[in-house]
């Protein structure tokens, strides 16, 4: 029991242990625990991502199958999500950016559904993994940077040259802008993974304390409260990731300050 991250004294024989980080272990869906995980292995991560894809398919394809003029409940939800992100792209990035809407909507839906599905007890949360969020953030970063140069050529570098500032401090500002630009993918990815990891770990810690009879009511209350908070976080983090993507995209399309 050397590597237990957080533990209590054993309560009964076998040893009370709780491992708030165990929920983040990636393991093969079939076969023994500890089997090697190759890039193609069907893991729990793959399973929960696939479930997110299936849910998106269900909501956006099956629920809109009727093409009802007066939408039903699920079709309303799908249309609301569509309208919500479409308006966000239009408002934040501009009308000329709606052609990138499908990409942004893809990111939003993946994060949203992965976050919410991760709230199912004993689920695995793909978006708590830096590998996942870093790929998402890097994809946004690279796409935005390449798009910025393709659309504006060298003028894209004007993003770092703040012409509204006095000439003397522009180089300093340029350096700061450059650093902040390259920090973007880092903060973009760690914000999402960090929020999800923290929330789920705290849930597990509270759940672990529920093993101790004396404080279990309090612990259950804590789990309930944190769970409510996590429902909020699940949506807000998807929202934040998406709106930041829109903001970065706006910088690429209109680099002038």
């Amino acid at each position: 029991m050397a590597e237990v991250v957080a533990g209590l004294e054993p309560v009964e024989g076998g040893g009370l242990s709780f491992h708030p980080m165990d929920q983040f272990i990636v393991q093969p869906l079939f076969g023994e625990a500890g089997d090697p995980v190759h890039w193609y292995t069907l893991t729990n991560a793959a399973f929960w991502m696939a479930l997110a894809v299936l849910c998106i398919f269900g909501l956006f394809v099956l629920a809109t199958r009727g093409r009802a003029i007066v939408p039903g409940r699920m079709q309303s939800v799908a249309e609301m999500a569509y309208g919500f992100i479409y308006k966000m792209v239009e408002d934040v990035t501009g009308k000329d950016a709606v052609r990138y809407f499908p990409y942004i909507f893809t990111l939003f839906l993946f994060i949203l559904f992965a976050n919410f599905l991760a709230l199912i007890p004993s689920a695995f949360s793909p978006t708590s993994h830096i590998a996942v969020t870093a790929v998402l953030a890097l994809a946004v970063f690279l796409a935005v940077t390449i798009l910025g140069f393709v659309k504006n050529g060298g003028a894209f570098l004007g993003l770092f040259w703040v012409t509204s500032a006095p000439l003397a401090i522009r180089p300093v500002l340029a350096l700061i802008e450059l650093i902040s630009y390259f920090v973007r993918p880092v903060s973009h990815s760690i914000r999402l993974a960090g929020n999800l990891t923290a929330g789920h770990a705290v849930l597990k810690v509270f759940a672990g304390f529920a093993q101790v009879a004396a404080i279990s009511p309090l612990a259950i209350l804590g789990v309930t409260a944190i769970y409510g908070l996590e429902v909020l976080v699940a949506f807000i983090q998807a929202y934040v990731f998406t709106i930041l993507t829109c903001v970065y995209l706006k910088d690429a399309l209109h680099p002038s300050h």
């Binding site: 590597e3 500890g34 193609y40 997110a52 894809v53 003029i69 499908p102």
Partner: protein, 182 residues
Amino acid sequence: MEPIELEAAGMCVDSYGFAVGMPQLCADWFGNQIFWLLLALISIYLILTRLALPRMTAVLAERSGTISNDLAAAEDLRRQANEADAAYNKALSDARAEAQRISGEARDAIRADLDAAIAKADEKIAAKSAESEAQIAEIRAGAAASVAEVARDVTGDIVAALGGKVDQTKIDAAVDARVKEG
């Protein structure tokens, strides 16, 4: 739980299968997650662009079209209702005027008939009263003549009774004078 051979477990979990540090940072699993992530993203993108978004855009466009059509139809219906209302009011006032005209005509006709009848009756009454007056005058003249005759006879008789001599001519003259005075 049986300890797992360390070589098989890799460096992300300990020999009991518990997490070592933060599993999120375990590089052994990066490839797997990235592969499935890309697959998931591509699937979602294809689902959206091939199936969901065209359908939803079509539905939304159709809905806004339906709504504006319905609004136009409602506007049209309201215009028709207003027209019908105006036509109804016009018919009502026409009918009212017609009724007034007819009743006026009837009244005039009745009045004309009445006037004619009254005039005729007046004429009859006048004729009758003239006739009556003539009769009355005749009766009165007759009565006066009778009075004079009676008076002559009575006077003659009185004169005779008093032992006078009856002079018919004088008596007539005296009676006529008296009747004329009377």
